[in-house]
């Protein structure tokens, strides 16, 4: 088990190196450079800037310096926010994105399980039809449309109430977090609802439920102890992959709700050719996802005896 974990870890490090290299060369292949600005920079001023950022060195030297710095956990200084280290930017903004992501996942899982169970219980009756209609909407409408509509509805609700129930944009308090994370979690919630529903129906039909029922166990007990518990399992297994979907969806929600998350910064950095921020963010996200997968895999090995680790 320990050996397995070490092996996976080494693989992970190599993968991160691959991501870093791919990012570095993709970045340097893009035309335009971070030192340009709206107003033209005089050649002598430009030379000063290049020297300051080490861009006057040949590319392989830059690559080597970049790898060395990265290995020591230093992503350098942002080109556009010249007084901020990329590490600081990542730390401050990832916190926000992570909060948003965690909440969205929780909303999605919570909602998905609840609605999924409800639809299964009321199969082919009104609640089922209504919820499944919503689910279809959730799956088929693009996220940015939801985000814009979500913000608009918040304005209308506050207008109607006469006070600010949920803030329209911004970040910081609990109220700020609720609407964006719900919007972000919506797609995943719809997906999980479907999964939960089919899972519930499948379990309802299985032998052990039939046995439990024939033994005369109370219905609520069957529901709680047998049906829900077993139906939730497949939902939990897909939660892992959903994390990736949610982090990427975060871009749009952060843009629309003016949330200072990392996704929004990445888009800005790309516009600005801010090399260090782009590379830092990509490598950080890549490494984060890679190690999340490893952790989940290793944990599964502990939790589920059926999973054999090679």
């Amino acid at each position: 088990m320990f050996l397995y974990a070490v092996k996976r870890l080494i693989q992970g490090v190599v993968t991160v190196w691959f991501i870093a290299t791919a990012t570095f060369f993709a970045m340097h292949g893009v035309p335009g450079d971070p030192l340009m600005n709206d107003k033209a920079v005089l050649p002598e001023i430009r030379a000063n800037l290049e020297a300051r950022y080490g861009l006057d060195k040949p590319i392989h030297v830059q690559y080597w310096i970049y790898l060395k710095n990265m290995a020591s956990g230093d992503f350098g200084i942002s080109f556009t926010q010249q007084n901020r280290e990329v590490n600081d930017i990542i730390r401050e903004h990832f916190k926000v994105s992570a909060t948003l992501g965690i909440l969205a996942i929780v909303f999605a899982a919570f909602g998905g399980i609840l609605w999924g169970a409800l639809t299964a219980l009321y199969r082919n009756r009104m609640p089922d039809i209504v919820i499944m209609f919503m689910v279809i909407l959730g799956i088929s409408v693009p996220g940015f449309v939801f985000a814009a509509l979500g913000q608009l509805s918040v304005v209308e609700i506050n207008d109607w109430l006469g006070f600010t129930l949920f803030p329209v944009a911004g970040w910081g308090t609990v109220q700020h977090m609720i609407v964006p994370s719900m919007v972000l979690g919506l797609g995943t919630m719809a997906f999980l609802t479907r999964l939960m529903r089919s899972s519930m129906l499948e379990i309802a039909n299985s032998d052990f439920i039939r046995t439990a029922r024939s033994k005369g166990l109370p219905v609520t007990r069957i529901l709680r102890k047998h049906q829900l518990r077993n139906a939730i399992l497949p939902v939990i297994t897909v939660l892992g992959p959903s994390v990736a979907a949610i982090t990427t969806g975060g871009f749009v929600v952060e843009l629309v709700f003016a949330i200072p998350g990392l996704g929004r910064y990445f888009v800005q950095a790309v516009q600005q050719s801010d090399y260090t921020v782009i590379m830092g963010t990509t490598v950080f996200y890549g490494a984060f996802l890679v190690f999340m997968v490893i952790v989940v895999d290793v944990l599964y090995g502990f939790v589920d005896p059926r999973v054999r680790l090679e």
Binding site: A40, N48, N83, V96, A169, L195
Partner: protein
């Protein structure tokens, strides 16, 4: 890729259980739901502890606070290195240079109480009561230090060129002379003397620019390279100080009690609680009473009218134009081709039908209407004749151009534009116009910011949609744009006659001679179809009804809240 499992399982009557028991199942579910909800609330609370922020109402008369949104995190609050509008705006509220603009846009004393400028030198006498936020007096040495810093090659300031009027400044910035040779001297703590390389008739307007701000040397050095990186890493001398700065999220300014003119300041705090460029988000914040000022876009005007908002307008001073590529190997080097494009251009149609936002003005001249001339407005003193579009004339010019260039028919031209929705929209409009009127095919090359700049610099375009905003309040900030030596002359236009006029305009000390020369520049740009001016940018905005005294302007801090108050 998501796998969606919805296996139609063989029918089980009534789903999980028979009818009649559903209520209890439902109760069970709700019970579990309630527990889940409690856990969720706990999680929310925990996450809220982890994050910081939160903002108040748009205006708070009790605390004298207004809440606003900002386009983004200020990238660089070190005045020697800042280049962008957001940083300059924060600097405009927290710092003060030798001179500043008052509410009626007149130049008044800032740190300097008196000044004298002639052809060879400028002298500034500083106020005795001007202080840094740590209580130290502001001295002439603080200016000497800051200006040397700007010109220091190691500091790599992009706005160093704005100090090139100082004697030896350019050579110092090139690294050819030592820093000490910059001709700026502290005669004593309160007298600053500047020697000029050549007469700079608008030097008073230049020193109002943020790059000319003072910096306290001892403080700067004590931060060890972290100057301006955070609220604690700055020393202020303006109306406000930065009380807190959550990077990427918010900045809060508070009244600077040590400011020499603190009585002028009536707001206690300005809370920039939102960083966003999304106009919809800003307007939604305004609707919700969370920001005191919001710019409107054409798409929101009807909504604004319906809500009976009091809409105001202003000009931000910028001019937008299509710039031709005048390099040797380009078709657009041909005069008749450019002229054809110029004479069919219908800038009123662009402004009134496509942009649709009041405040924008159809344009013909590179010099916008708000610029001052000798006595009054430059454009009223030197009007530029702009005949209405003439499609027949355009086609005749095009025919000549096709003939001269030995083409088979109307050419295909590449139009380089930015990736903003407005830029794309305008490009699409022009594409259609030139196709319809001249048969010219325009290929739109929409590029994100830095990529567009790279292509502009490399000359990889036929036409580029460009804009120019003023740095200082003198026609000169526009006039030298197409001088052959200007790096911003991306089309590499070169005309000795224009260069000569620019030279007169920038160094003559007689206003009439200068303005005559500017008028000549204006005429050459039009006659030779160097550029085709599209519009002068303006905007409309709404502000909280109780917020008064906000100044919007083309040059200087905009929007300026230093004189604002809550009614």
């Amino acid at each position: 890729m998501t796998e969606i499992a919805d296996t139609p399982s063989p029918d089980v009557p009534g789903g999980a259980a028979g009818t009649g028991l559903d209520i209890r199942s439902l109760g069970q579910l709700l019970y579990m739901g309630a527990i889940g909800f409690g856990a969720l609330a706990l999680l929310l609370w925990a996450l809220a502890q982890w994050n910081e922020g939160g903002a108040g109402e748009a205006v708070d008369a009790v605390t004298g606070t207004i809440t606003l949104s900002l386009f983004g995190e200020p990238p660089q609050l070190d005045s020697t290195r800042g280049t962008d509008a957001v940083s300059f705006n924060i600097l405009g509220h927290t710092m003060e240079g030798l001179l500043r603009y008052d509410a009626d846009n007149r130049l008044v004393g800032g740190v300097a109480e008196r000044w004298q400028i002639d052809d060879a030198k400028a002298t500034f006498w500083l106020r005795p009561d001007a202080r840094w936020s740590n209580g130290e007096p502001i001295t002439a040495h603080d200016f000497v230090f800051a200006w040397r810093k700007v010109l220091d090659p190691l500091n790599a300031s992009e706005y160093a060129f704005i100090l090139y009027g100082l004697k030896n400044a350019e050579a110092v910035n090139r690294g050819e002379m030592p820093l000490e040779s910059v001709a700026v001297f502290a005669l004593d703590d309160r007298t600053l003397e500047v020697h000029l390389e050549r007469p700079v008739p608008y030097f008073d307007k230049l020193v109002a620019f943020a790059t000319y701000n003072p910096i306290n040397q001892a403080f700067y050095e004590s931060r060890e390279g972290r100057y301006a990186a955070d609220a604690d890493d700055l020393l202020f001398n303006g109306p406000f100080t930065i009380a807190s700065w959550v990077h990427g999220a918010s900045i809060r300014l508070e009244k600077n009690e040590r400011y020499w003119d603190a009585d002028r300041i009536r707001l206690n705090a300005i809370d920039y609680a939102y960083f966003t460029t999304d106009s919809n988000a800003i307007i939604n914040l305004f609707k919700d009473g969370k920001t005191a000022l919001a710019g409107l876009v054409a798409e929101n005007l009807d909504d604004a009218l319906q809500r009976r908002w009091r809409i105001k307008r202003f000009s931000d001073g910028a001019v937008f134009f299509m710039e031709f590529n005048h390099r040797e190997d380009r078709l657009t080097r041909n005069y008749h081709l450019r002229k054809a494009i110029q004479v069919v251009n219908d800038s009123p149609e662009l402004v009134y039908r496509v942009i649709k936002l009041p405040g924008n003005l159809p344009g013909a001249s590179l010099f916008p209407v708000w610029l001052k001339g000798v006595d009054g407005y430059f454009r009223q003193e030197y009007p530029l004749a702009d005949p209405p579009p003439d499609d027949d004339l355009g086609r005749r010019h095009l025919a000549t151009a096709i003939d001269e260039l030995d083409l088979d028919g109307p050419p295909t031209l590449v139009m380089l534009v930015g990736d903003s929705p407005t830029a794309k929209k305008q490009a699409e409009y022009y594409q259609n116009v030139y196709k319809q009127k001249l048969g010219i095919d325009i290929k739109i090359d929409a590029q994100i910011f830095k990529q567009r700049l790279a292509k502009m610099t490399a000359g990889d375009f036929d036409i580029v949609m460009a804009g120019w905003g003023p740095d200082y309040d003198d026609p000169m900030t526009f006039a030298d744009l197409f001088a052959s030596w200007n790096e911003n002359n991306r089309g590499r236009y070169s005309n000795a006659e224009l260069d000569e006029a620019v030279d007169i305009a920038r160094s003559s000390s007689d206003p009439a001679t200068r303005m005559d020369a500017m008028a000549k520049v204006q005429q050459i740009l039009y006659d030779d179809a160097v550029i085709v001016v599209n519009y002068e940018r303006g905007s409309v905005y709404v502000s909280h009804p109780r917020l008064k005294g906000v100044v919007r302007r083309a040059v200087g801090t905009d929007p300026d809240y230093t004189g604002a108050w809550i009614d």
